[in-house]
């Protein structure tokens, strides 16, 4: 059984349709990567899976662990095991990072240990993301996921704005969560990684890559081959594919 199965998903925000019919499947223990230009709907896709209220799902279904979660609240989805690392997390004045982590998981030792892995101990007594640099925000997001330990990680541009040294730290932490040291069949946690630059793939091996444009998934394949293709020819080639797909749809 697939961990995540999405059928014909359409979603809008502020009355504008962003996702225009997405079918997607992810098996347990697998990591998928989604490439796509700005505005193609990648963040909306992750936000719809975790149930952010700003996105309205207008059609289709999301099945997680065999349950239809399409109508569930964000809280219910997180309780089932979905976690999201935001591309642009908000700053929450007055709420200390340690207080948030304690509320999520009262195991203080685990919090201290994970903070050390990400070199985030000095930030625990600061307000969540207030005055954090881009890299610190990303590390704070991954720290929160490590404390949350969801079965499905949704990672929205985890490496953007992060220097090489810290990308390596983030990748190490993700490898721990995703049990990358185990044989693939024994891994329980899965991830969908959105990346614009592809840098994260130098550190974390993904099993499958997808290209998203204009709210649709155009195709999938080997992460390294697709990334090379995009790097060599850009998304323009994919745009042609999209237009061809549209024509086929009209013809059908």
């Amino acid at each position: 059984m697939a961990l995540l199965e999405i059928k014909g998903l359409r979603a809008s925000s502020g009355g504008r349709e962003i996702l225009k019919g997405i079918d997607f499947t992810l098996e347990e223990g697998r990591t998928a990567v989604i490439f796509g230009p700005n505005g193609s709907g990648k963040s909306t896709f992750l936000g719809s899976i975790v149930g952010l209220p700003k996105y309205d799902i207008t059609k289709g279904n999301i099945l997680f662990k065999g349950k239809d979660i399409t109508g569930m609240s964000t809280y219910e989805r997180t309780q089932l095991g979905i976690g999201l690392a935001f591309q642009y997390p908000p700053s929450i004045k007055g709420v200390r990072l340690r207080t948030l982590l304690d509320t999520m998981n009262p195991d203080k030792e685990a919090i201290d240990h994970t903070s050390e892995i990400l070199d985030m101990s000095p930030y625990l007594d600061r307000d969540v993301n207030v005055g954090f640099s881009g890299g610190e925000r990303k590390k704070s997001e991954i720290l929160q996921l490590m404390v949350q330990m969801p079965d499905l990680l949704l990672l929205d541009e985890p490496e953007s704005g992060v220097d090489i040294e810290n990308i390596s730290l983030i990748a190490d932490a993700l490898k721990i969560i995703l049990e990358k040291d185990k044989p693939i069949k024994k891994r329980r946690r899965s991830a969908i990684i959105i990346t614009h630059t592809g840098f994260i793939l130098d550190y974390i091996r993904a099993d499958k890559a997808y290209v998203m444009m204009d709210g649709r998934i155009l195709g999938c394949g080997s992460p390294s081959e697709i990334f090379e293709e995009i790097r060599a020819r850009g998304y323009k080639e994919c745009q042609k594919c999209l237009e061809e797909a549209k024509k086929e749809n009209h013809a059908a």
């Binding site: 209220p53 609240s73 997390p89 200390r96 999520m104």
Partner: protein, 362 residues
């Protein structure tokens, strides 16, 4: 026989015999049940006794910072025998342990009138925590509390007041503080429970090099009305003032008045009022005022009134928090003023009062 007091209600406002303190003072309605102190250089007396024993108190301290005919409440107080404390700290004596005072209103419908005098000698230091509350069964009444505070040169006072009144009680704390040269005054005020009406506008006059800082946390529930704030008058060169308030309206009204005025060179003043509206029924009215009379002063203010950000709520809910848990965390964070210069025990008491109120509201 000692009357029975509602110890639980007193604990809720920080009057806790389990906490190490340098002395205690407890009033039930108009009866002084305790006036104790255990440190050399600290004197605590019922004000009436102090006025009998010390002409200096009677002649120089009582109704000297606040005029007897300032308003109907001061007139009422001036016509009654004084009930309250006189606290004196000798010059050079520095006391880290807090002094605890409790004011309990028990007789339903009664008016409790309190008059306190605090006098800190040169280069002395003290921390006073006043807890004011009603007994469990008392919902109606009035509290008038006059406090005149005198800080000698280089003295430091942390003055914390926690209110836990009832839905049909009206409250009029009237405070005035004279902050001597290079002296430091810090006021913390927390009012988290229902009250019919609270009106409070303490005024601090600050001499050269001195500072007065006011921090307040107000949680205005349905049918509650708060008109609170502070005024700092920077009278000496290089004096400074700060007024920070956090106001939550959960259906109640809250007016926040803040004023800093100064005309002495090198003076600094800053104020912040942040308001958070939890629904459509309440109102927050922020009134900041600055008055500068010299080119070499720096006065500023920040004010905001808003609601809980939906984005912040969604974010916390992706971390596995329920809607109520996320709101509670945000409100608690909003009310978390980081106060410098008060003992850890007092900060803990304030934190507990806020935690209890916020978690109890969700």
């Amino acid at each position: 026989m000692q009357p029975k007091v509602d110890k639980d209600r007193l604990l809720d406002v920080g009057y806790d015999p389990g906490i190490a303190s340098c002395g205690r003072f407890l009033v039930l309605d108009h009866s002084i049940l305790e006036a104790s102190h255990g440190i050399k250089g600290l004197e605590v007396l019922p004000l009436a006794d102090a006025m009998d024993n010390y002409p200096h108190v009677r002649d120089n301290l009582v109704f000297r910072l606040i005029e007897k005919d300032k308003n109907e409440f001061t007139k009422t107080a001036s016509n009654l025998p004084p009930v309250g404390y006189y606290i004196k700290v000798e010059p050079g004596v520095k006391i880290d342990m807090p002094f605890q005072a409790g004011f309990l209103l028990e007789s339903a419908g009664a008016t409790q009138v309190i008059h306190n005098i605090i006098e800190l000698g040169e280069n002395s230091e003290a921390h006073i925590i006043n807890g004011c509350t009603t007994s469990q069964e008392t919902h109606k009444g009035r509290h008038i509390g006059i406090t005149e505070t005198y800080l000698g040169r280089d003295a430091a006072l942390g003055y914390t007041m926690i209110h836990n009144w009832a839905r049909d009680v009206d409250v009029y704390p009237i405070g005035a503080i004279l902050v001597g040269e290079n002296a430091r005054y810090i006021s913390n005020y927390a009012a988290m429970t229902s009250v019919k009406k609270t009106v409070s506008y303490p005024v601090a006059r600050v001499m050269a090099g001195g500072s007065a800082r006011f921090y307040s946390i107000i949680y205005s529930r349905r049918d509650s009305y708060f008109d609170t704030g502070a005024k700092v008058m920077l009278e000496g060169d290089a004096s400074s003032g700060e007024i920070i308030s956090r106001v939550v309206s959960d259906g109640g009204a809250a007016i926040s008045r803040q004023m800093i005025s100064g005309s002495s060179p090198g003076s600094l003043g800053h104020m912040e009022c942040s308001g958070l509206l939890l629904g459509n029924k309440g109102v927050i009215h922020s009134i900041p005022e600055l008055k500068g009379g010299h080119q070499d002063i720096d006065l500023s203010h920040e004010a905001s009134v808003g609601r809980i950000s939906k984005e912040d709520l969604s974010y916390l809910m992706t971390r596995g928090l329920t809607d109520d848990e996320a709101r509670s965390l945000i409100i608690r964070g909003f009310l978390d003023i980081k106060i410098k210069g008060i003992p850890y025990t007092i900060q803990q008491i304030i934190d507990e009062v806020v935690d209890r109120s916020v978690s109890g509201s969700m």
